[in-house]
Symmetry: C2
Subunit: 314 residues, 2 copies
Amino acid sequence: MPQETRTVAIVGCGVIGMGWATLFLSRGLKVILSDPAEGGKDALERYLDQARPFFEEHGNFEQVATNYEFVSDIVPRLPEAEFVQENGPESQEFKIGLMKTLDEHTRPGVVIASSSSGLPSSTFIQQCKRDPSRILVGHPFNPPHLIPLVEVVPHPGTSEHSISATMKFYQSLGKRPILLHDEVPGFVSNRLQAAINNEAYSLISRGIVSAEDLDLAITQGPGLRWAVTGPIATNALGGGGGPSGFAQRIERLGPSIRAWEDDILKHRFDWSDKSLSALQDSFKKGLGGTDWSKLVEERDSVLMQLLAAKSKTT
Amino acid sequence: MPQETRTVAIVGCGVIGMGWATLFLSRGLKVILSDPAEGGKDALERYLDQARPFFEEHGNFEQVATNYEFVSDIVPRLPEAEFVQENGPESQEFKIGLMKTLDEHTRPGVVIASSSSGLPSSTFIQQCKRDPSRILVGHPFNPPHLIPLVEVVPHPGTSEHSISATMKFYQSLGKRPILLHDEVPGFVSNRLQAAINNEAYSLISRGIVSAEDLDLAITQGPGLRWAVTGPIATNALGGGGGPSGFAQRIERLGPSIRAWEDDILKHRFDWSDKSLSALQDSFKKGLGGTDWSKLVEERDSVLMQLLAAKSKTT
């Protein structure tokens, strides 16, 4: 499949769908998109225009960024698709109905990947009578054209062929797919983010640190390293690297870490109105004045330079 | 104090002490160091040599990188210091004795900062009879000359003057200090790392994902964003940015996140021999063949480019 995929259907064109469209277009694919929201086509045009520096790295903006059709109804166009990327709302009920339709109208053997950010596909394929074995989750990260990670999460009935075709297709686009061996809720990356966020919310709402300084505690610290070495390799380097570095780190710091874990558990963020309100207050005070459009531009500019620097090392 | 600080004493010269030395030297300060380990001076020379690209960004390697004295006994030299950075082992008992000595021999008013990575200073100042009000934690991140974050954690008796002098001194070196308002064990950044690590260990030991893919789930995903936008700003952007983005994100995704949190809690990494052994096995299989020296070189090269890209945005 990967070699032949020239046309992709994007079902649901919010922030994630627009990012997928940017990626697919930049690689020379044709894209057919739909979204029920008003002004969807204008939003896409603005998004593509903002991504101009990204297109320019990959070729000619004018030539590829216009190779799409924004349609009001995707259903009659599904038979043209050689890959379907679904980006509907994160609702089980909604996805059950949508997947039924996609399965009915997509050609046999064509993979249907859901951008579901935590809902396993086995929870929304029960009405797919034609071929649920070509359905799986392909969970991207925002912005999908810049962040290489995709979590590929098959359900127990997904075929090996669909899994390997999906991995190869994403790889052919320059993505870095990882394969999960079990459909855990939240998948891997959002669970890791939920773990860090809970403690972040707790520290802020308890007044230990401001929302602004909490962010600096990542962006000026471990966040810089995590762009290069993941949690496990970072642990191993903290133990001096080498084959025994990880074991040493776990052994030497284990007792301290377990004591911190106990304290973290004791003070878990409880989602009470009081805690939420303290969290929101700190957010408004420290980050309320942020220029978010400027931050997105800066983030994307730094991301592109970071990815370029990383690509030179491997 | 900041303007006049020309001489810093570094007590304990392992990986962290050597990184501090690199930073202080690169900014033109004189450094007096000591370490009880054999071969400490040679290790420092190698470290400084490896950091040559860093020195070259800040000036003349030959001129500044030799402006140190590695001494066998720091005690008689302490009166020369205008700032003391302590990097002894992370042991309460050890630090109690060391802090007593440092307090006795350091000039009045000179700040003594401990690189303690999670032990609050109130737990190791009880034998400091002279002036414990100038003692606090200044917790850096590896490698200290490249990672800007320093957690400044005063104990309840630390003077306001010592706190502000320390913040200003670190800022004058290009560091990004954050001030904690309470001495929580593990401080902020290591608690955040402990939270993510526990879930990482759990996912790997349960076979959901390999150690290698777990690291990719960060370095190819959220880790790239966290170099620019912290957990809170990332949440706000996920909610579409704007002043209400953060609130929207919490409200809309809150129920999903709480379900993931419950599942995370249920499957917490338990540090049992069985779980540890499954974790180590996956580490050996996926990351055992890593060239760690090469990884450090690559990390530092990417870090310098990343920091340069970030400095252009602010």
